[in-house]
Amino acid sequence: MCMAIADQKRVAMGVSSSMMAEAPIADLLAAAHNGSQEAWNSLVDHYGRLVWSVVRGFRLDAATAADVSQTVWLRLVEHSDRIRDPERLGSWLATTARNESIRVLKRQSRSVPTEFSVDVADEGAPGIDERLLDDEQLRDVLVAFEDISQRCRELLQMLCLDPPLEYEEISEILGMAIGSIGPTRARCLDRIRKKLERR
């Protein structure tokens, strides 16, 4: 029943959402700040995956990852008139998602583990999609990816975001010199390639 209502909502939003999809981010932000839920939904359509990808990269459990994602969007609600450069909203969201994920991780690492396991729901865990198992090419690269350094994983993940971030933005987010992104990217991909060859 809930599903049906959600679907109807999506259908109802469909026409206008596609109209807004073409609007510049600055216009969507301004419209959202002035009360347009529709503009807000377009921002979520555009960047929801990006926020989730960054949070998920920190390997938080599903419930915590969902909480972090929601916190990031709540932050944007309260800061929607204070985004200095709207065209770099993706970068702002990725930074906020990263900071909040790191904060949660720090907190979890110093707390009694059992306390957190009580809160955690298993439903919808961000586990590996079963469909993926049918695609050997994708499965192999993912297994290799999980086996490289955290620094490499984070950089490659940033490079895979949709919509993509500029090197300059990634440099700021990860605190990595812009000139070293290219070489590090090559080196990290090479590590994956070597692991793939060994298989």
């Binding site: 807000w40 979520v44 599903a62 709540l74 904060r103 720090k106 110093r110 009580v118 695609d135 090419q137």
Partner: protein, 152 residues
Amino acid sequence: MSEHESDDQLLARLGAALEAAYPVPEAVLDAARATFTWRTIDAELAALVFDSAEEAPAGVRSAEGTRQMTFRSPGVEIELEVVSETRRRIVGQLVPPQEAEIMLHHHDETRVARSDTLGRFTFHDVPSGSVRLTCKLHDESGAVVQTEWTLI
């Protein structure tokens, strides 16, 4: 295939794998859309300026399971202690000390408390998730101060 796979192709393959393996749940997107209902215009924002959870493990460390946070706005500071028991307890202090109406927003639930003359207030049994406090000051300014959304 991997024999002549370029860096760009390998990165594209990785991107496709990550997307297939960890799709963004529709419930997460719905929650993101729903955050819009928390839009407020007239409140002054109190920014998080200290969080014991942000400090390095070797740094200031309070009692196990207690997290300290300070939110600051031009007019008032809100100091919080989040005590993690089975459920969380939030103990707050307004600086300067003053009486105020304090609202705790948590998902779709809002609870109300009052700070005493010493500026202290407490919320019991707070579940984990994003929270925000709204303080309606009782002084002549009658200002409304809100903390940033914070995950506890």
